[in-house]
């Protein structure tokens, strides 16, 4: 099945590009003459926004905003001035932006406003497993879901048309299997729009002036939703087949079904409805299918949103038909699907056992693969210093509360540091810590947070804590980037990047301005000094902010690196050592020499931070200052 709604400029010579699903959405937005792109890093926003950052200029402005709420508001202002805007965020970001989302949805839009959101069934990116289709429903916003990169481009282009035609902001949902699929995509020249900005002049629509206005806005949003549903309805596709079985499959799951049906070589294929528009659901097509089929199975990941609607429609239309899905346990309510799971589900309809899960190889007995800091990461040194500081202050790390935050900095929860006990959402480390203080915890409370996370949502939490009489140490691990998502600049990044911040702010001055008890900066690689500063902060009253500043090791312009090496005459061998350098640092540059069994340091990976040298009990790790490695290569 293929959808080609936009003919190429020269049908004889279509142009192609290989793109990720998320980039294809951005390409579609670009073709639709989008003028502003905003977002906050996280799949699928990262590749989408970066793709357009690479093409900005010539009437296209792209930026990494400070958080998703701000990104959406900036885009909405731009759209209300009559211009086309595109916003990208992950599902957690949509939660952050849900406050403006609901309000903007009530007012509608003028210029096209398209919001790309990624869901992550199977949790490959480590946040709450949620189904953002429910947010579309709550916000009364149309939502469509492409199943491959080609559709992503076409649907996005179409979304801009429908958004302006119905005045509804449009949500495009991608699950990981669409956003992270890289394929050949047909592309087209961008349209050209040259619009002058207009000012909104309708209080009843753009303000929340009265209860009546708000209720009117609600009704108008529902009206827009219905119109958008009709405009998108051609994307919900019926494939004629044997009506003994009707299959309703959603978005990304459709390709798994196609895979199963293709392998059935000639056997009769069921009557299928592919649901692409997740809000509003295609009631008319569902009822038609219910009326024609003997049994109907619904296949969708996460929430049984379509399934419940199908059951309700069968009931209210008085159609007696067997409806199968998550309620019978045929498909699981959590995790992502794959072709086998769909195949097993279909087989269970023919009498096979109901599957719960496709079995995976048993690897429990082997070494776990836990994420770890890169060699030379400043955070490794900072956490090492924090461990030392807690002991210097006269406490055991076991009795100290450390709240962690989102990003690379959360790796402080794993061995060898084992410090962070909690991870909630962006910025919550500081506010959560305040809660522990109110709960009567008298031992030290420490919040660790990265710089981008701090700007995203940590600032209000710090204001809140600083204005109260509580004892709290905030350790800001400032590496100048949103590193985990691929080194996007933050509001304070001074280094050159493709989204140069014109007026970088200062974390130090900001902390000073909120009048916390003490603000100190330190260079994390000098662990002795950092641990003394931290230990003093831990023992002090009030809110203390310690900023450990060093650029991300993967982004730093290393002028020279002096790698460490192991003296094999002193090393007793990793398996014989009581406290190994590997266990103390978790550094990937330290390997085990197969023949001698002794530690060895990979000269190409070592960044010369020296943590292993201070950890080695045999004093076997050292470096020759003349063994310079230029430019880190």
């Amino acid at each position: 099945m293929s959808i080609h709604l936009f003919k190429p400029a020269d049908p004889a010579k279509p142009a192609f590009k290989t793109l990720l699903g998320s980039q294809a959405c951005a390409q579609g937005a670009h073709e639709a003459a989008v003028r502003l792109v905003t977002g906050y890093p996280g799949t699928p926003a990262t590749p989408a926004v970066e793709y357009l950052l690479g093409q900005s200029g010539n009437g296209l402005k792209a930026e990494w905003s400070v958080n998703e709420k701000v990104a959406l508001e900036v885009a909405a202002g731009h759209s209300w001035a009559g211009q086309r805007s595109f916003v990208a965020m992950k599902m957690s970001g949509l939660n952050v932006a849900s406050d403006p989302l609901l309000s903007i949805a009530a007012s509608g839009t003028v210029g096209g406003l398209v919001i790309l959101v990624g869901d992550d069934p199977g949790v490959y990116y480590g946040m709450v497993e949620q189904d953002s289709r429910l947010i579309a429903r709550m916000a009364v916003l149309p939502m469509i879901e492409p199943a491959n990169p080609n559709e992503a481009r076409v649907f996005t282009r179409m979304a801009f048309e429908v958004s302006e035609q119905t005045q509804a902001p449009i949500l495009i949902r991608q699950t990981g299997s669409t956003a992270n699929t890289y394929s050949k995509v047909q592309i087209d020249e961008p349209e050209r729009l040259n619009r002058k900005p207009t000012l909104p002049d309708d209080l009843a629509r753009y303000t929340k002036a009265s209860a009546q206005d708000c209720m009117d806005q609600h009704a108008q949003a529902m009206q827009r939703l219905e119109e958008a549903g009709e405009a998108f309805d051609e994307l919900n596709i019926v494939t004629e087949g044997d009506t003994k079985l009707g299959v309703i499959a959603a978005g990304s799951v459709w390709s798994y079904l196609e895979e199963c049906l293709a392998s059935r070589n000639g056997a009769s294929t069921p009557h299928c409805l592919r649901v692409t528009v997740m809000n509003p659901l295609p009631d008319r097509k569902i009822v038609e299918l219910l009326g024609r089929c003997k049994r109907v199975v619904v296949i969708e990941e996460l929430e049984p949103l379509i399934e419940e609607r199908v059951r309700a429609l069968a009931h209210s239309n008085g159609i007696k038909v067997e409806i199968l899905g998550k309620e019978q346990g045929i498909f699981k309510p959590t995790g992502d699907f794959d072709p086998e799971l769909v195949e097993l589900g279909l087989k269970s309809l023919e009498g096979a056992d109901i599957p719960i899960e496709v079995s995976a190889p048993e690897l429990g007995g082997y070494a776990p693969r836990k994420p770890t800091f890169c060699p030379g990461c400043p955070h490794r040194s900072s956490y090492s210093a924090l461990n030392k500081a807690i002991r210097m202050a006269g406490f055991d790390p076991e009795e100290v509360m450390v709240t962690g935050d989102i990003g690379c900095t959360i790796l402080g929860m794993y061995e060898p540091f084992s410090l962070c006990r909690t991870e909630v959402v962006m910025g919550a480390s500081i506010s959560l810590a305040q809660g522990f203080s109110y709960a009567g915890v008298t031992k030290p409370i420490i919040a660790t947070i990265g710089d981008s996370t701090f700007f995203h949502s940590g600032i209000p939490a710090l204001l809140n804590a600083a204005s109260r009489e509580i004892n709290l140490t905030v350790l800001v691990l400032d590496n100048s980037y949103a590193a985990m998502t691929g080194f996007q600049p933050t509001a304070a990044t001074q280094a050159n990047s493709n989204d140069m911040v014109e007026n970088p702010m200062s974390l130090y001055e900001l902390s000073k301005a909120v009048r916390v008890r003490r603000v100190r900066r330190a260079f994390p690689y000098l662990t002795g000094r950092l641990s003394r500063i931290l230990s003093q902060a831990i023992r002090s009253k009030g809110v203390n902010v310690i900023i450990a500043e060093a650029p991300c090791a993967a982004r730093r312009q290393w002028k020279r690196v002096i790698p460490y090496s192991v003296n094999p005459n002193r090393c007793v061998g990793l398996f014989n050592c009581e406290a190994t350098c590997v266990d103390a640092t978790g550094c990937a540059a330290i390997t085990r020499d197969e023949e001698s069994g002794k530690a060895a340091i990979d000269q190409a990976l070592c960044m010369g931070c020296g943590l292993c040298a201070s950890a080695c009990v045999e004093k076997a790790v050292g470096r020759n200052v003349r063994s310079l490695r230029r430019n880190g290569k």
Partner: protein, 197 residues
């Protein structure tokens, strides 16, 4: 013509880069091709799996290759090879870097890392070719070329995409180390050709 390939490794080993090189090479030859990566958070040590599907006139519709249907598995180390072993079709071939990355936890001996025999056991008779990719890469002066060696080995075993197109795509993707990458690619290619005599 169809080729389904699983590439497995851990973050930083170039699994996604390799998938991109192969996909672009196939597309440049006129194939329909796509890959899907389960990369997870972009941090060191995390397992990364990529599903590469190449076909003419169309590649398989699903981004994920069904288990038991992959023609090849290319694994950057033993543990990751085991994680994806059930994707390999009966009669398929696994190419495994026998000197790949050992998890930090296993380096100090606290955890067990699978031996060659254990890997062969889970592959249950399906063919395994051990390629010393990391070793070859280090001999060429840097550890980062292991992926190119594996791509070379893969190209020698499967003839679906022209060797020269893969090299071209490799050079375009890795402009700063283009010559070294190409050399590593041919080293992997020759390793297999020598095996086959």
């Amino acid at each position: 013509m169809k080729l389904d390939l699983i590439i497995a490794g851990s973050a930083g080993q170039g699994v996604i880069t390799m998938s991109g090189i192969l996909t672009r090479a196939a597309v440049s030859e006129g194939y329909d091709a796509h890959y899907y990566s389960q990369s997870g958070i972009a941090q060191l040590e995390v397992p990364v799996t990529s599903h590469v599907r190449i076909g003419s006139p169309t590649a398989g519709p699903s981004p994920k290759i069904p288990r038991g249907k992959a023609d090849f598995i290319a694994a950057m180390d033993q543990l990751e090879a085991m994680r994806v072993c059930d994707y390999l079709v009966d009669g398929g071939t696994a190419i495994i870097d026998k000197t790949g990355s050992i998890p930090v936890g296993a380096r100090s001996g606290r955890f067990h890392y699978p031996t060659k025999e254990e890997v062969e056991k889970v592959f249950d008779g399906r063919s395994i070719i051990w390629v010393p990719a990391s070793e070859i890469s280090r001999e060429l002066g840097t550890p980062v070329l292991a992926g190119a060696v594996i791509l070379g080995a893969l190209s020698a075993l499967s003839e679906i995409v022209e060797r020269d197109n893969i090299v071209l795509s490799l050079r375009e993707t890795m402009p700063t180390l283009a010559d070294e990458e190409a050399e590593a690619f041919y080293a992997g290619f020759d390793f297999i050709s020598d095996l086959e005599g």
